[in-house]
Homo-oligomer: 397 residues x 2
Amino acid sequence: MKVIDGTIASPLGFSADGLHAGFKKRKMDFGWIVSEKPASVAGVYTTNKVIAAPLIVTKTSVKKAGKMKAIVVNSGVANSCTGTQGLEDAYTMQEWTAEKLGVEPDLVGVASTGIIGELLPMDTLKNGLSKIVVNGNADDFAKAILTTDTATKTIAVTETFGRDVVTMAGVAKGSGMIHPNMATMLGFITCDANISSETLQLALSQNVEKTFNQITVDGDTSTNDMVLVMSNGCTLNEEILPDTPEFDKFSKMLNFVMQELAKKIAKDGEGANKLIQVDVVNAPNALDARMMAKSVVGSSLVKTAIFGEDPNWGRILAAVGYAGVDVPVDNVDIMIGGLPVMLASSPVAFDDEEMKDIMHVDEVTITVDLHAGREKGTAWGCDLSYDYVKINALYHT
Amino acid sequence: MKVIDGTIASPLGFSADGLHAGFKKRKMDFGWIVSEKPASVAGVYTTNKVIAAPLIVTKTSVKKAGKMKAIVVNSGVANSCTGTQGLEDAYTMQEWTAEKLGVEPDLVGVASTGIIGELLPMDTLKNGLSKIVVNGNADDFAKAILTTDTATKTIAVTETFGRDVVTMAGVAKGSGMIHPNMATMLGFITCDANISSETLQLALSQNVEKTFNQITVDGDTSTNDMVLVMSNGCTLNEEILPDTPEFDKFSKMLNFVMQELAKKIAKDGEGANKLIQVDVVNAPNALDARMMAKSVVGSSLVKTAIFGEDPNWGRILAAVGYAGVDVPVDNVDIMIGGLPVMLASSPVAFDDEEMKDIMHVDEVTITVDLHAGREKGTAWGCDLSYDYVKINALYHT
């Protein structure tokens, strides 16, 4: 597998565009991804019981058509908590886009992120659709879906399948606590491999638990979170089937793309200065390991300690202890940046100067060794800073 | 039931004392509660898998003896993550106290709070035991168990049982994120009612879920959390038995005392400016209601919004949505200080000035009406301020 300097339109047969339609004051706020032929599609959606209108529409169409030709996204208004009018507007957004492309509405996925409780400004949407083009600027799509993110989040890779080279690309927006609201996580992945929607969904579901579901900024789950994968088969490779070496290869590819996007989202958490990676190793099983890793990376006390560059092993061990996992914690080693701070659940002396250097970086890795098995799990998060409080306290609804 | 201006020593047959032994630099750090006769005892202990030595000792003795004559507490050193030496020291703390009182070691409960990973300074302990007296100053006990708490936490009530007046008192320490570590919650309750340890445990277990387990400062659970209840029967009332009106009366009394202590702890959360109470009403069952209430009060986004005095209904509804409870959320009303901000899961306009006044207080109540049943649940927490980050980031291990 090779990482390439690409965009969401790097896979064969895909194009993307982004522009400023007027959902936001100045920044780009409207974009789409188009596949020249209907692509296999797979999706995962928010686990929040409160589900935004665009997710209902997209989820329904994915189920109905089993294919997707385009994804249209606006940022600035989330079309969430907007009742029946909001649902109607999401369907209209899908229809208008389908008309412009001359395809069935069910072949169009819709996504929104931004203020919740506000209706979509349909004239603004119409304006955006009048200007957007096929074969536009894919970099602008990555910009158009952002809210309070400080940077675009894109990754592209290639992998050989026999004589064929398959390209996969991903773009995401992350965890800004959006005016006035929640961290919406949107992820869009394109690929030119020949794979069925069912097999694609299998690969997506397998990997989402280990990637997007293992990041946390503040534990709050948005009503608009969604990840969509389209694969259009333009490489004309032999179809990738489950339980084959090719599937494993494809799954690894997808895992890498999703993990890279997840890490970019965690690192860009609102007010964040540092990416925190927690590896729980030698656990009885992978699920327990992931739960413990997420418990540590989600602890406000650990997050503030990392912000303060404080190697606070006590808070880490405590978070391991309340992860709700039935694993013995009497023989736990904890390393920060590889330097042991706790061995066999008792603190050990370490060189303060060495630790200072280890923590004074923008990516801190915490390793928790349970000595209780052979499985491992990883989670990603960010530190908790004054800026987090500032950004989320000082906005007024 | 009548609230009285009392101390932990107000119930008949109890005395308490507190002093500075040297676990801390200057502040009081050592105290005890003594009952003139062995009291029935009940306890609840941390759910953290990492359990501090004093809890292991106390839990074992409570189980073994089924009675308690004294509780001895030190603050400043938690005797947590201290291995076999720590366990030995906790047993020694129990033995020395028992010797001084001339009772069986199993009749003495021990508790510690403070720095974790440090051994108990046994000379300091000896010094404290040499100075502490029976019939000392009960107010000093309330002070001696504090760490970074900003105020003592005491409540006392009386209730008539037939011709007898039963007195119950409680004292607690709360949620300072202690140098270098975690919020330890300690609660001690004394009563002079005649009730068996088994019945007392029943009443305690019934009420802890609705009180101490419904508060959150930052979701982190300490290795030292413990609540102990002693009831010595000095009122000579008829024994209180389960499934009787007297038991219900006693249980209500205990619930009130625990709830008042829980609220005092939440309000004094580190860096906290406001107490937040979340009432989830008209739920299908009480457990779901409590889970949803705790989800809202534990949301960093809600906490920062309350700090900023921002009536952010979106964050509240989202937290209801991800509480992990299978309850329809399409017809939710949300009131802040009684003023509706959301009706039937859609936002409603409200008077900004009126809302400003409502939020500019030190106790904010959020009501979530699910219209899905007749049960309710309440949780308490505090806002998330700059000071929380400051206190927890700027300390260095």
